[in-house]
């Protein structure tokens, strides 16, 4: 019982939370991990002690006090109503849950550390966005609805908590869209559609974080003594068009207005949930700067955006690629080329058109 740390993890009923709690429990620096959620987790929790409690009511304060928790990892901010029911329930869970949890933490003297999994959706997505958001930038248009608004409110409460309890080390991780073979998120289910609708005339920039990297960064944050707000994302960016080409999926560009309407159709069909914030994201895209993640937090993601996405594609049924196979067959019969030198599409006899 060396370090004697007891970590409370909220939101363990879902895969990411459960996996994180399990791996954290095996860490030598941590004694005990307590998982809290309203619904019991579906999978194996390993060494994690599961406490069925609702963070929306003061019971959570008793759990924290009784179990002598010193570190709280809040992962219970959910992006989709999903199993929780309607949007009202989701907001209740996100905002009221966070308030109750933070209130309980504030009361508990022994709590030394708080790690909150937030999202880069806090920056919103609009045509007036800078190319790369750094941690101290605000969203250009404050979100008015949905998950983005919840995230902003949660962050506001967390900042308030950090002010009231300066002795607690607060780490807020703004994670880019988490992707991976098992991830269920609005963006992942969008990308799993057989034919992918896109917004006509827009090509958003996407950044991904692999699910194991999410796991690692949360563990890193629990064990590190560096508090603050950090953007977390894999290196590099993918354009949506590029991502779709890599998947070999067919895309159907449709005007922005129709795209929004399609969202509600898909939602009622329970295929994908194109919420207004996801539509904005798929229109304008977003990029976040991860300099501080490296320099201050000292975390290095294993997967770049492209690698994380490649692993995601590998789990999908293969599609397309016919044109590429034809080209490959033709290319086999031509002499090999040095890939370093970019091919020049010079039309014969027009070499000296330049000055």
């Amino acid at each position: 019982m060396g370090a004697g740390r007891t970590v409370l993890v909220t939101g363990v009923s879902r895969d990411l939370g459960r996996t994180f709690a399990r791996t954290l429990a095996t860490d030598p620096g941590v004694d005990r991990v307590i998982g809290v959620d309203v619904i019991p987790p579906r999978g194996d929790l390993g060494d994690v002690t599961f406490v069925r409690a609702d963070i929306r009511n003061p019971v959570i304060a008793k759990v924290i006090a009784k179990e002598d928790v010193d570190t709280v990892v809040h992962m219970s901010v959910i992006a989709t109503p999903g199993s929780a029911g309607a949007r009202g329930t989701m907001k209740e869970l996100n905002v009221m849950g966070t308030m109750q949890l933070l209130a309980a933490c504030q009361k508990a003297e022994q709590v030394r550390q708080l790690v909150v999994k937030s999202s880069t959706i806090a920056y919103g997505a609009s045509s007036r966005d800078p190319a790369m958001f750094t941690e101290d930038m605000e969203p250009r248009r404050p979100p008015r609805t949905g998950y983005a608004k919840d995230v902003n409110e949660v962050e506001r409460y967390v900042r308030g908590f950090a002010r009231r309890r300066p002795d607690v080390q607060v780490t807020m991780l703004r994670c880019a869209n988490v992707i991976g073979p098992r991830v269920v998120s609005p963006l992942a289910s969008y990308l799993r559609l057989p034919v992918i609708p896109t917004v006509l005339g827009f090509d958003p920039r996407l950044q991904f974080l692999h699910e194991t990297d999410l796991n690692r960064v949360l563990r890193h944050a629990v064990l590190s003594d560096q508090g603050g707000t950090f953007n977390v994302a894999g290196d590099g960016l993918l354009m949506l068009s590029q991502a779709l080409r890599r998947m070999g999926r067919t895309s159907v560009p449709m005007p922005g207005i129709a795209f929004g309407g399609l969202g509600s159709v898909l939602k009622s069909a329970r295929v994908a949930d194109l919420s207004p914030e996801l539509v904005a994201f798929l229109t304008y895209g977003r990029g976040v700067d991860t300099t501080r993640m490296r320099a201050d937090l000292g975390f290095e993601p294993q997967y770049s955006t492209a690698e994380a996405f490649a692993e995601f594609i590998a789990t999908l049924p293969p599609a397309g690629g016919r044109a590429d196979r034809v080209l490959a067959a033709v290319a086999e019969h031509l002499p090999p080329v040095d890939e370093d030198r970019p091919a020049q599409l010079t039309v014969a006899g027009d070499h000296d058109g330049r000055r």
Partner: protein, 402 residues
């Protein structure tokens, strides 16, 4: 035997409209050789009766190198390797018999090959094989998404090979751009190119990008108004071409990253000014570009563009409609609404681009960017330089179109 097997259908081989008594004159003209037309339908069934063998034998005679039953794609490609082996004349005799078997067999493979080789040689020159291979590699990279974009969404490959390739002839042949002082553009490291803005549609920006790439091989990264990124297609293309939003964060980030950044501080006031105000510089924004340069310590390269004012002489505006749509202005040029899309062709004015001496900003101390007076002074200095150069270029110019 051929004559005996004919089963005449309908009008007993007489051309016409079936039940009619007399055929039309056009139809009769077709039937000039009435004896032969009995023969030709009969000629088909008999030779092609052993379907399995003869057509393949025909092609085998012509192209003796590979068996026909192979995958067609592979065979086509392998024949490409020995270019001399397939002269186009060889294939003539096999044609007519094959037509009945398949519609695709109408043109024999050899003809396809010859045509393909000819086209390749036309398009790619004598070194067409490596050229084509490289082009195919490029095509596959694009198809499979196997390329990288930078954090602003800049797609260097497609910019160099398509956007710039498309702009180059316009710059050279249509506007006959003459660049002066290209040596003032730093060969490496961050620099801020500040230019006057004119021409109703920001074509001067595109031409500046093309000219700078032509002269120095560097990509100018333009900073665009947020209207650009709100528009569909335009915004996506702008990001692919290396543009980003004109805001302090992006400007400083790009300059720190050692990019060559282009700004047009007049903005819509510059491109949307009436023709009577041509070559009169408008207000230079709030000097944000100067503070960005001061903070990052990069040189400012003033650029004066002469010629862009005349491409679409803006003689009128419909402010109420513009407000309704949410754009800064709706231009009326002598040709635009009048000639419809044809009015969108820019007038072929002669352009002069002069890059001035770089204005150094690294000598100021750290807090210089927070000193509004200094920022205004530097802004004025840049503006004056560009205005004076514009006047002198106008003096040197013989005429608008020459």
């Amino acid at each position: 035997m051929a004559d005996a097997d004919i089963i005449p259908i309908g009008t007993r081989g007489q051309p016409g409209r079936g039940a009619g008594v007399r055929s039309s004159s056009a139809a009769r003209g077709l039937a000039a050789k009435s004896g032969a037309n009995k023969k030709s339908p009969a000629a088909k069934p008999t030779p092609s009766a052993p379907v399995a063998e003869p057509p393949t034998r025909d092609t085998d005679d012509v192209i003796a190198t590979t068996p026909v039953e192979d995958e067609p794609v592979i065979r086509t490609a392998s024949l490409l390797d020995d270019a001399a082996a397939v002269p186009s004349g060889l294939v003539a005799p096999a044609r007519t018999e094959e037509r009945s078997s398949s519609p695709l067999a109408g043109i024999p493979v050899g003809d396809w090959l010859a045509a393909f080789q000819h086209a390749s040689r036309e398009l790619f020159g004598d070194q067409w094989e490596p050229q084509l291979a490289r082009f195919l590699a490029f095509l596959r990279r694009r198809l499979t998404g196997d390329y990288t974009v930078d954090e602003y969404g800049f797609d260097e490959e497609v910019t160099t090979r398509f956007f710039l390739a498309a702009l180059r002839p316009i710059a050279q042949k249509w506007f006959r751009i003459e660049v002066r002082g290209a040596e003032n553009i730093p060969a490496q490291g961050g620099a801020l190119v500040v230019s006057n803005h004119s021409g109703t549609i920001p074509i001067d920006g595109l031409m500046t990008i093309a000219s700078i790439h032509e002269q120095t091989g560097r990509h100018l990264r333009p900073l665009g108004a947020d209207l650009v990124f709100r528009l569909p297609v335009v915004g996506a293309l702008a990001r692919k071409g290396g543009a980003t939003l004109a805001c302090t964060e992006d400007a400083e980030r790009m300059l720190r990253g050692g990019e060559l950044v282009g700004v047009w501080p007049e903005g819509f006031k510059g491109i949307g000014k009436p023709f009577s105000d041509r070559y009169k510089l408008q207000r230079f924004g709030r000097g944000g570009f100067v503070s960005a340069a001061l903070r990052t310590g990069v040189p400012i390269v003033p650029l004066s563009v002469v010629g862009a004012e005349e491409i679409y002489p803006l003689v009128g505006n419909i402010p109420s409609l513009a407000r309704l749509i949410g754009v800064p202005y709706i231009p009326i040029t002598p040709f635009f609404p009048l000639l419809g899309p044809l009015g969108l062709v820019p007038l072929p004015s002669k352009w002069l681009l002069e890059f001035g001496e770089p204005i150094r900003t690294d000598e100021y101390d750290a807090g210089a960017a927070e000193d509004p007076m200094l920022v205004f002074n530097v802004t004025d200095q840049v503006r004056e330089t560009i205005q004076q150069t514009l006047y002198s270029l106008l003096m040197q110019r013989q005429s608008v179109f020459r």
